[in-house]
């Protein structure tokens, strides 16, 4: 389902296997526990890179599982459960005491795209993979924290409209133009991961304090933190 590997300073979180890497409550719980593990082992110079195998980064929540509840109310409850249980994943990433990079090997849709956007940097492929907020097409309402995350990370109203309201499948080059991802210059899964590793190593060399980093990160997104109930913690004793 997913693994956490340590490669020198880098923590590599991988959604494994060739499927759609849909978020079922069990997947979400696993991701959360791996993030907690990375946090507990973090030190100056730690970096997190999140990626996946195959055609998909993640296609979002496990809607099929929701539908097997057998009734409309049952399905709605299961969906609600996934929406609620995914919030701590976003919180954990905002709180993580190290720079974070999402290396998109393939498609990222709905909650899968939210996972990507919860990282400090997002790289995607030029040749493959789309970003897609499917909610408008399948008639799902947008959780408030999804919208807050989009507002926090995507600056222009045109870009937010294209992403959330048009049902568009956005490819790498356009995603860069809209300011949704940092770079889409890569022609392969290896390429995008290598670029993430290169950036990771550059950032790791700064040996920043993870606590300071996370505090400044959270202060960049006050609306999102408010909705998630996250408070930026205060620290003192500056290095002179």
């Amino acid at each position: 389902m997913c693994t956490l590997e340590k490669r020198g300073d880098l923590f590599l979180l991988t959604l494994t296997g060739d499927g759609e890497h849909r978020f079922h409550p069990d997947t979400i719980a696993t991701i959360l526990s791996l993030l907690e593990q990375a946090k507990s082992q973090s030190k100056r110079g730690s970096i997190l890179i999140t990626t996946a195998n195959g055609k998909f980064f993640s296609n979002g929540f496990d809607l099929a599982w929701a539908q097997t509840a057998g009734s409309i109310t049952g399905a709605a409850n299961r969906l609600h459960q996934m929406v609620e249980s995914f919030k701590p994943v976003v919180v954990a990433l905002l709180d993580l005491p190290m720079p974070t990079i999402a290396a998109l090997n393939g498609h990222a849709a709905a909650a899968g795209l939210m996972l990507a956007l919860s990282h400090d940097y997002v790289f995607m492929r030029k040749d493959r993979g789309v970003l897609y907020m499917s909610e408008v097409d399948i008639g799902l309402s947008m959780p408030d924290y999804f919208a807050a995350l989009v507002r926090a990370k995507i600056g222009t109203s045109a870009a937010r409209r294209e992403l959330l309201l048009s049902g568009k499948k956005i490819r790498g080059e356009e995603a860069v133009g809209l300011g949704i991802v940092d770079s889409a210059a890569y022609d392969s899964e290896e390429g995008v991961v290598e670029a993430s590793v290169r950036l990771g190593e550059k950032l790791a060399a700064k040996k920043w304090s993870g606590e300071v980093y996370a505090s400044i990160r959270k202060s960049l997104y006050p609306e999102l933190c408010g909705i998630l109930g996250l408070e930026a913690r205060v620290f003192s004793t500056p290095k002179l």
């Binding site: 600056g155 920043w208 300071v212 980093y213 400044i216 960049l220």
Partner: protein
């Protein structure tokens, strides 16, 4: 410390001497009282303020060495800078920062508190150093960053990589309005811009009020909670 020159309708405020122009309580008081001299000047509603500096530094931020000897001075310096920035935001005339040297942390905030930022491209950078030196970033700094830097990626680069932003980078990021080949040219350009603005006409008092409304989020942070405990009366100089 600082000097004030009147050139036609232009006020030129200069941080004098070859030092780092650290924002210690004395310099902050001097800057505030100088700006308060400008306000009641009869021509003030048809003037422009240009702020610049001598030497290698615009300002290297708070006097951290001083704060180390007496931690309550951190609170005092922050409170005084907040008042100074509130004064600049309510000033009944357009303001131009002619950045001819490094501006770091609180010094960068001071530069960015002006309506226009003109900067030399051959030397010097804007640098929100807090991540590198493990210094707390006040919430009101973040409010100014959010209001003055539009792109989420640029804000992230400034705050979460502690980027040393040259004039050219600043222009790309939308932090700097224009870049010039030397210190002298930067000041000349500021004077030209100031004169153009004056030519357009308009009432500085109206301008000041509109700026306060536009930057309300910053003002709320600067005058809302005053940690020093004193309530500061702002003289807006309004004719009403």
């Amino acid at each position: 410390m600082c000097s004030l020159e009147k050139r036609g309708r232009l006020f030129i405020l200069k941080l004098t001497g070859d030092g780092e122009h650290r924002l210690n309580p004395t310099l902050l008081d001097s800057l505030r009282s100088t700006i308060n001299q400008i306000r009641p000047d009869p021509s003030s509603s048809q003037s422009v303020l240009i702020t610049t500096s001598d030497g290698k530094f615009f300002s290297n931020g708070y006097d951290l060495a001083l704060a180390e000897t007496n931690p309550s001075l951190s609170v005092l310096m922050d409170s005084k800078l907040r008042s100074l920035v509130a004064d600049l935001i309510s000033l009944p005339m357009p303001t131009i920062a002619a950045v001819t040297g490094h501006a770091s942390a609180a010094g960068c905030i001071l530069a960015m508190s002006h309506d226009y930022v003109l900067m030399r491209r051959d030397r010097g950078f804007l640098y929100m150093s807090e991540l590198d030196i493990e210094l707390k970033v006040p919430a009101w700094f973040m409010a100014l960053i959010r209001v003055k830097i539009g792109s989420p990626a640029a804000r992230r680069d400034v705050m979460l990589t502690a980027a040393k932003v040259t004039a050219e980078m600043g222009v790309e990021m939308g932090i700097v309005d224009s870049a010039y080949d030397s210190a002298a040219e930067t000041v000349e350009a500021a004077v030209r811009l100031g004169e153009e603005i004056i030519q357009r006409g308009g009432d500085g008092h109206v301008y000041g009020k509109m700026r306060e409304t536009l930057l309300r989020e910053v003002l709320v942070h600067t005058i809302g909670e005053d940690e020093s405990g004193s309530s500061v009366m702002r003289n807006t100089g309004s004719k009403l």
